[in-house]
Symmetry: C2
Subunit: 217 residues, 2 copies
């Protein structure tokens, strides 16, 4: 499969690297075509790895992954261009995290979410929110955390969620541990989990953790 990954930060490079490892073709997109991080990444990976603009990455991908921060996601996707997103599965793994006076904040929060904003701005993209509840290393190698634990998906398009679930299984998530929370509105729920994640991160001093949902049956 051809993936366009928007964002050359740790999240984009982790996802891109793992997709390559799994045999996919990846274009890592950034604001400019000559972004040194992306070019170096593509050169080091060679073959199936490419660097380009947001628009080039989105155009190249059969599936597009938003791996830029939630607060700049809409800008990156506008630069990518609706014409390169329409009809495609658009995986949003971002959190709306910003720092204000040194304190982490979410924007938007509660009455809206990045996932919903993206779906509203690109009504013909098939947005699936997922993976934002774990660190980028755990996203692509869930085995870093022992035992079975959960990841969430939500979005309006059932077939898109199935396709993303298949990708999660490729990453190593057990299919039975992918919890479908329904429509894209549930992006609010998974984005608002971030403060608890940050609190636990502060407590543990390591991002290699996740939650397993336990229920009575």
């Amino acid at each position: 499969m051809r993936y366009g990954v928007l964002g050359t930060g740790e999240v984009g490079r982790s996802l891109g690297g793992r997709l390559l490892e799994l045999g996919h073709e990846v274009t890592l997109g950034s604001r400019s075509a000559d972004n040194p991080v992306a070019v170096e990444w593509a050169t080091a990976a060679a073959g199936r790895a490419h660097a380009g603009t947001f628009a080039q990455a989105a155009a190249a991908g059969e599936v597009v992954v938003n791996a830029v921060g939630g607060t700049v996601a809409l800008d990156a996707l506008r630069a990518a261009g609706a014409e390169h997103l329409d009809g495609k599965v658009l995986v949003d793994v971002s959190n709306p995290l910003l720092f204000e006076d040194g304190q982490p904040r979410l924007d938007p929060v509660e009455s809206d979410s990045v996932g919903e904003r993206i779906q509203r701005a690109f009504p013909h993209a098939r947005v699936v929110k997922t993976l934002n509840t774990v660190n980028c290393q755990v996203m692509v190698k869930p085995g870093r955390v022992p035992g079975e634990h959960n990841v969430f998906v939500c979005g309006e398009d059932a077939r898109a969620k199935e396709q993303v679930t298949e990708l999660l299984v490729e990453f190593g998530w057990p299919a039975g541990r992918v919890l479908d929370l329904g429509g894209i509105r549930a992006a609010r729920a998974v984005e608002m989990y971030l403060p608890l994640w940050l609190s636990m991160f502060g407590r543990f001093g390591s991002p290699d953790f996740n939650i397993e949902v336990r229920r009575a049956v």
Copy 2:
């Protein structure tokens, strides 16, 4: 131990009933001394169970539990009176949930929390936020959910958190599953988990679930 439980709803009655079962003395407090639910509860339980006003319950308790909703917690605690809270462990299990146009909302959210508001309003109470991440039946009988799973505590007073942890162990929580998230500011994190809890509740159709935190060691 003598407990004052503020609130005669399902949460207050669950906590009160379980505390009685464990051999404690409980005064269930409400806005008026002749609240029929509280009086019936005290009559049915007899002996170590009492009903009274918020002030009577708080005065009677060596430990006070806020089991009214987060959006009315400060009103209930003001009615209870600072003089009946000062120096005491004040356990806050509430969530700032309200419904606006039929949609669940949190107030406060993100830049503040009920836990922090209570601690600010009653600086001499030893506030510990806990248990708000599970349904009230699971709060007092964690064995309703199979396996080991987690509950959080946060607050400014280390000794108060220890005392609350002992209470959680009485309820049936394994001591090793009580995660201390630090100061009362972490109340924001556990209160903002509510939308994810609500999403999962909607998905499962039962409140008998909880999360286990898994981490690499």
